[in-house]
């Protein structure tokens, strides 16, 4: 957590935006980067351990959930998980049938993988920004970005994979027609071939870039806003009881994890009691606000409300981004299958 002074605020943000990197350092050889400089020195021969681990983990989660549903698939009455999975599958199937008219058995599973996987990766954004990094730093891991889709490597990796598929099917389906498309379009005359080639290549390359960067940009910005809001919790440190709450009184600029854990437990406890029907909803909201104000002052209360608001809005964003990536992939592949 950062204090109010600009240097540590910047540090806090930068720390949050730094991946855990394993790579070939010019001096240390293959090793984990211990600072942002070391990570930068590694250049291309490095891998973002956190992004890959979360992305693979979430991919496996997707495979596991859908595979276990598939093994339970019956022609009888579907129940529980199977219902949910079939809902998703049917939704994807409908979207694919709407926009893809070729005959390709790969497109629908591809779309399903993209949608669910990207949704899961985006979903990591809704976890409190400091939760997993803090826990892992207790375990000795100092850098951690838990949202794989805020890593351009991840989004561009997927976009490039889609691009490879686009090229493959363009050449496979159209053959020389693909070359003609690149050279004789939009001006159908041999003299315009260089201009056509330039324009069409730009258009072609724009597809994977827009695909990957759109997702990256949205998620990165969303994550950034979560980080900025998270700073509010400690922003009141050292500013007195009203603005900074007990946290500021007891710990000054150096906030204490255990203190926040107590506040967190109180808030969650009240919410739980409300769900059990012991506390009325109005009381719950008031109690939560009182706990947060006591703990972190007005800033923490504001931070909490903003975090909540942004998270609710973000649920829309993460779903929409996953959907857009999927639909555009299907559309691009559909274009690759169509003869002009």
């Amino acid at each position: 957590m950062a204090g109010e002074n600009p240097a540590s605020t910047t540090e806090y943000i930068q720390h949050h935006l730094q991946n855990l990197v394993y790579g070939l350092h010019p001096e240390n050889g293959w090793s984990l980067a211990r600072s942002a400089e070391e990570a930068a020195d590694m250049g291309f021969w490095a891998i973002h351990v956190d992004s890959m681990a979360w992305s693979i983990g979430l991919g496996l989660l997707f495979c596991w959930i859908f595979r276990s549903a598939a093994t339970r698939a019956t022609t009888g009455v579907p129940q529980g998980l199977l219902n949910f999975v079939e809902l998703v599958v049917e939704f994807i199937d409908g979207s694919v049938k709407d926009s893809f008219h070729g005959n390709n058995k790969m497109v629908a599973p591809l779309a399903l993988t993209i949608f669910v996987w990207i949704f899961l990766m985006n979903f990591m954004d809704l976890l409190p920004v400091d939760l997993i990094p803090s826990l892992l730093s207790l375990a000795g891991v100092h850098y951690q970005k838990v949202v794989p889709s805020t890593d351009p490597n991840i989004t561009m990796g997927m976009a490039l994979a889609v691009f490879v598929l686009m090229l493959y099917y363009s050449i496979k389906i159209k053959g020389s027609g693909f070359v003609a498309e690149l050279t004789m379009h939009p001006f159908n005359h041999w003299a315009f071939i260089p201009i056509n080639l330039f324009m069409e290549t730009v258009g072609l390359l724009a597809k994977p870039f827009s695909l990957g960067l759109r997702l990256f940009g949205n998620m990165y910005a969303g994550e950034m806003i979560f980080i900025l809001i998270a700073m509010m919790f400690a922003a009141g440190a050292g500013t007195g009881l009203v603005a900074g709450g007990l946290n500021a009184q007891l710990f000054g600029e150096y906030t204490n994890g255990w203190f926040w854990l107590i506040i967190f437990t109180l808030v969650v406890g009240v919410c739980w009691l409300n769900l059990k029907g012991r506390v009325s909803t109005i009381k719950t909201v008031l109690l939560c606000m009182i706990f947060m104000t006591l703990g972190g002052g007005v800033f923490a209360l504001g931070g909490g409300l903003m975090q909540w608001g942004w998270a609710v809005f973000h649920i829309l964003v993460i779903t929409l981004q996953a959907f857009i990536f999927m639909v555009l992939t299907v559309v691009y592949l559909s274009m690759a299958h169509e003869e002009h």
């Binding site: 490095a46 973002h48 992004s51 693979i56 495979c63 019956t74 591809l110 990796g157 994979a161 490879v164």
Partner: protein, 156 residues
């Protein structure tokens, strides 16, 4: 933030997950869903067919009932007619039998009457002869008188 090996790592991972989904997830679920859809469609068809069958069976039943009722009414009519006929016949027979009995009785009466007349004639003839014998006392020709008396008896 720099582009590095992660890019290719993600491409490979992506390819693997797509392959997995294509091989082990999508076809299985889609197949199950299609089959279920088929089953439901078949079930609805069967239900409709059963409904139609039921309707036709009901109309058949009411037709049969109609026919049966008509038949029953016909049978009752016939039975009534037949009963009347039987009663009529029995009446006729009874009348004929009565007539026959009457004729027989009359014949018997006639017969009895004749026999009684016969006996009476014999007895009258004897009595008359005995009376005349006593009146005339032995002088009378028996043969001539008998013919005379029998002539008289025949007139009775």
């Amino acid at each position: 933030m720099n582009i590095n090996l992660t890019l290719f790592g993600q491409m490979v991972t992506f390819a693997f997950f797509v392959w997995f989904c294509m091989k082990y997830v999508w076809p299985v679920i889609i197949e199950a869903m299609d089959e279920r859809q088929q089953k439901i469609a078949d079930g609805l068809d069967a239900a409709e067919r059963a409904m139609r069958d039921l309707e036709s069976a009901q109309s058949q039943v009411s037709d049969r009932m109609q026919i049966a009722k008509q038949e029953a009414a016909g049978i009752i009519d016939q039975a009534n007619k037949r009963a009347g006929q039987i009663v009529e016949e029995a009446k006729q027979q009874a009348i004929a039998e009565g007539d026959r009995l009457k004729v027989a009785a009359a014949a018997e009466i006639d017969q009895e009457l004749n026999r009684a007349k016969e006996e009476l004639r014999g007895a009258v003839a004897g009595l008359a002869l005995a009376g005349a014998e006593r009146i005339l006392e032995a002088s009378v020709d028996d043969a001539a008188n008998r013919a005379l008396v029998e002539q008289l008896a025949a007139q009775l």
